[in-house]
């Protein structure tokens, strides 16, 4: 047979399986303008919807007058909360167990809240209609500062919750309180602090920001009155969940709802939730009998669909004089905005923030999180991170640096002293997680050697002396971050969304000629699933990746999956793919045994087929087996070669990494330069190193943005003052530093291919590295903590406050 003329290496290379830097197959269409996004969906007779939004952050609505709007040429309908009440959709459930207004019902609770939905023959007419709707508002006192939300005289935001002192996550302490969530042993932790030789305490804020994908949130809904079927094209990171939510709230039977997520231009968490635009475009389609498109503009995206972070973390660490940590105590004030639309697994009101012990062996810890309402946009999504993991990583990584400063110890040395040791894995953390695998010391030492850490510290010491002597106005910071993530949600024992366990799925069908299709429950938004999923199958089944088509995002064809966010695709869907492939391989082995007239147990899998052990010339390739599956199957066996797998992971995965940032800051202008950024990631088995590197580059760029300037900021009156890309920092090639990437490999012991997920690591690890670099630069002038984002102006302010300006 022909294949035998090829070497082992050639056969392996031909598959382009795991470990291969395979070029992204989706880029063929993306780079030629042939992607198919929601806004490319154009249906006959399609209408366009646009929102009337509130200029007030908190106001009662006295009246809404649609008359003038309905006279605008092209305007067909104006929907308000009163109209939606007829179909019981004025409010909708959130993923966090709260309810949210679809259209303002009696009052508005944040600026740019959706008040009315204008439907017209084109977008321009819809905009004119929006302009013509007259809304009479009675402004109410505004609550912007979360620290004032539970004051006795704080305005009542959620009148609908009046008298309800129990929420989805237990008792509420105040009319603006959402939940309190506690984990850990309070008494043991308090005792550790009482006995501690050294303690630190700092309020570390992680400011509100926004995932801001290039493509905003959008949907096209088309209701077929004859068939009673609703088809929704949308920017959905989790299409199946959207289908179930629509079925639950619309009462349309789930099999008559078709959800299609076509190509998505970035999600980063922003496209997990359900938004008023989806509901309104669906209702408008049902009302008008025509397809209705809704496309957010940039300001709407930044100011109304889900924000991220807004965590204010009072962090305390107890330690010995020698720098061994003995306890961690964290209280978080979580600003959720006007509705708790946080996108977390249902039982986790603060996500997996209890990963806050990080990479360190804390004997005891206690965590309390209070969620509160304010007059800000709702949300709380995981912006390129697993649920609240980036907040946790920032909290502990900043905390460790502050402790090192107090001890007069090098922050790298402090980390090495407290890391969970390799032999402790699987490691049980004080806040309840079981870390699957890790080798932190090796990763940290490799990072330090690569950047020549000792030399950097010597240079820094010399520069500080020169600064004191007045010879330079530049200060230097070295920022270290050693993060441990928790991704791959998640095991059905502790993770669900609206009661649906967070498994994921894959269905593989191999065709007679040896090519095939894989349909997966995840949904790529740019991650390159069409490329990497085929690589897993190539290695598992010995079929070239080029011969496997990967399809996602159509709920009619893909098996039920929970979608893509929280770095769950590789840990969960990736496992389902491997397991489905293994089911096929088991059947292929039986067919091969029949063809080769041997017992199954006499065969071994060898790259791209089965071989009789000890008889290398007796071989059946997978291509031959595929053909045989459709014509010469063993007696009693069903024809065909396909399998479905639903994978319920036994545990999360715990990727980790060591990042080091070297930064120079001019104190007189606040201008910083990132001199060097080194990122070592350990995501277990590496499927496609090129894609990993691309993910790390993208994630670091977003981390850079967040740490150094990106912010959703409100003024005291509740106006969003960073509502456009003029003020909201999205770095371009001009600002973005050069990234150095590196890796170690510590496979996950419980994952079928040992992979852990990587898409979000650079955001989780990057933010503390940047912030620690800035804080490290200023520390010798007497500061312990400077809040993010560290833009030029704030750096200059810090220098001024510290008396460093001439």
């Amino acid at each position: 047979m022909n294949d035998m003329t090829l070497t082992k290496e050639q056969r392996e290379a031909r598959l382009e399986g795991m470990g291969c830097k395979r070029k992204r197959v989706e880029d063929i269409r993306f780079t030629q303008g042939r992607g198919n996004y929601v806004d490319d969906v154009k249906l006959p007779g399609m209408l366009h919807g646009d929102f009337v939004r509130s200029p007030h952050p908190h106001a009662r609505i006295r009246s809404i007058n649609k008359d003038a709007a309905l006279k605008v040429p092209g305007v067909l309908a104006v929907l308000t909360a009163d109209d939606l009440k007829g179909v019981n959709l004025a409010w909708m459930p959130t993923l966090a167990g709260d309810v949210q207004m679809v259209l303002a019902d009696g009052k508005v609770l944040f600026q740019n809240q959706e008040v009315a939905f204008v439907v017209a023959t084109d977008r321009y007419a819809a905009d004119d209609g929006v302009n013509a709707v007259e809304v009479d508002y009675e402004p109410l006192p505004v609550l912007v500062d979360p620290f004032k939300s539970m004051d006795a005289d704080a305005p009542v935001l959620r009148e609908d919750l009046e008298g309800k002192m129990t929420g989805a996550h237990g008792p509420r302490k105040h009319h603006n309180h959402i939940f309190e969530w506690t984990v850990g042993d309070r008494d043991l932790t308090d005792a550790a602090f009482r006995k501690a030789e050294v303690t630190i305490k700092e309020m570390i804020s992680y400011h509100r920001t926004h995932p801001s994908p290039l493509e905003t949130c959008q949907s096209v809904c088309s209701f077929d009155k004859i068939k009673g079927e609703l088809t929704i094209w949308g920017t959905f990171q989790a299409p199946h969940v959207i289908r179930t939510v629509v079925a639950l709230i619309s009462k349309i039977p789930e099999h008559k709802i078709h959800v299609i997520a076509p190509d998505i231009g970035g999600g980063f968490g922003n496209k997990v939730g359900a938004y008023p635009g989806y509901i309104c475009s669906a209702v408008a389609s049902i009302v008008t009998g025509r397809p209705v498109k809704w496309v957010e503009d940039r300001i709407e995206n930044l100011t109304s669909t889900s924000f991220a972070r807004d965590y204010h973390m009072t962090t305390e660490i107890a330690a010995t004089k020698e720098g061994k940590v003995t306890g961690l105590r964290v209280h978080v004030l979580a600003d959720h905005g006007a509705f708790d639309a946080c996108a977390d697994p249902s039982k986790w009101p603060a996500g997996f923030f209890n990963i806050v012990t990080g990479s360190y062996d804390f004997p005891t810890a206690h965590l309390a999180v209070d969620g509160v309402y304010t007059n800000k946009a709702p949300g709380g999504v995981a912006y390129r991170c697993s649920f609240r993991v980036t907040e946790a990583a920032y909290c502990i990584e900043r905390g460790m640096d502050i402790l090192a400063q107090k001890l007069g110890m090098d922050p790298a040395e402090l980390r090495l002293k407290n890391f969970v040791r390799p032999e402790q894995f699987p490691y049980q953390s004080a806040l309840g997680w079981e870390y699957d695998s890790g080798d932190y010391h090796t990763a940290m030492r490799k990072a330090m050697e690569t950047v020549q850490y000792e030399d950097l510290r010597k240079e820094q010491a010399a520069k500080r002396e020169a600064f004191r002597r007045g010879e330079t106005r530049e200060i230097m910071g070295v920022g270290i971050s050693f993060f441990t993530e928790i991704v791959g949600a998640g095991p059905s024992k502790n993770c669900d969304i609206l009661g649906i366990a967070m498994f994921d799925s894959c269905e593989i069908r191999l065709h007679p000629t040896g090519a095939g299709i894989a349909r997966v429950g995840s949904k790529s938004q740019g991650q390159g699933h069409e490329t990497t999923w085929a690589q897993i199958i190539a290695t598992e089944l010995g079929i070239p990746a080029d011969d496997i088509m990967v399809e996602e995002g159509n709920t009619d064809t893909a098996p039920y999956g929970l979608g893509t966010y929280g770095s769950r695709s590789t840990p969960v869907a990736g496992a389902a793919i491997a397991m489905a492939a293994r089911k096929i391989r088991a059947k292929a082995q039986m067919i091969a045994a029949y063809l080769l007239e041997v017992h199954e147990g006499d065969l071994e899998f060898d790259i791209d087929g089965f071989r009789v052990k000890g008889l290398p010339e007796r071989f059946k390739s997978m291509k031959e087996i595929c053909w045989a599956a459709y014509n010469s199957i063993p007696p009693g066996m069903e024809p065909g070669l396909e399998a479905v797998s639903y994978y319920d992971p036994p545990n999360m995965t715990y990727p980790f990494g060591a990042y080091i940032c070297v930064m120079d800051i001019d104190v007189d202008t606040g201008v910083y330069k990132v001199r060097r950024f080194y990122a070592l990631d350990d995501c277990g088995t590496r499927i496609n190193p090129m894609i990993i590197e691309g993910q790390v580059h993208g994630g670091l760029t977003e981390a850079f943005a967040i740490a150094m300037g990106q912010e959703i900021r409100y003024d005291d009156n509740g106006n969003v003052v960073t509502g456009s890309l003029m003020d909201f920092f999205l770095p371009t090639a001009v600002e973005t530093p050069h990234w150095e990437t590196d890796f170690t490999v510590t496979p996950s012991p419980h994952h079928p291919i040992g992979a852990k997920g990587v898409g979000e690591s650079p955001n989780v690890g990057g933010v503390p590295a940047f912030s620690n670099a800035v804080n490290d630069a200023f520390s010798f002038l007497g500061s312990t903590h400077i809040q993010m984002p560290h833009d030029f102006w704030r750096n200059w302010q810090a220098a001024k406050t510290l008396g460093a300006l001439g």
Binding site: P57, I299, N717, V720
Partner: protein
């Protein structure tokens, strides 16, 4: 946002006070004012075109005079709705002090707030724009009031 300022006007306090209560003079002084109609001695309705950074809008609103202490001081406040663009509201405490018989020192404290899209897009320009507009109002007012005094003298 708050700002303060003062103008020396070549006119007696009584004349300046009359000008402060004259809708036509106020119309000429309010930057971008297209219309100012008197509804009563203390209430007016107005149309003002306001431009902050990239946003320009026509605001329809009401102007009210309060805390009247003739001829020494009053508060002038206004509130306008600019439709999709948002809203603006502001006020000024104005007081007059004689600087000799023929001149008046007018001092003002202005408070201004904007909301909606105009605040979202023009946030970094609001303070400087508001300062510029307030200064423009009071300097034009100074000229008009002085001119008024001159005209009154000529007529006399």
């Amino acid at each position: 946002m708050d700002m303060n300022g003062s103008e020396r006007i070549e006119a007696p306090v009584e004349v300046v006070w009359r000008a402060l209560n004259d809708a036509e003079i106020l119309r000429q002084c309010i930057p971008g004012c297209e219309r100012l109609d008197k509804a009563s001695d203390t209430e007016m309705s107005a149309t003002v075109v306001l431009k902050i950074g990239p946003v320009k809008a026509r605001f329809e609103g009401a102007v009210e005079l309060s805390n009247l202490d003739p001829p020494h001081s009053y508060t002038i406040s206004g509130e306008g709705k600019g439709g999709l663009v948002g809203f603006a509201k502001g006020g000024a405490d104005v007081s007059l002090t004689a600087d000799g018989p023929q001149a008046t020192i007018l001092t003002y404290t202005v408070k201004a707030d904007v909301g909606g899209k105009i605040a979202q897009l023009g946030s970094r320009l609001i303070d400087s724009t508001a300062k510029k507009l307030a200064a423009e109002f009071f300097s034009v007012f100074g000229e008009k009031a002085a001119g008024h005094a001159l005209a009154a003298t000529d007529a006399g």
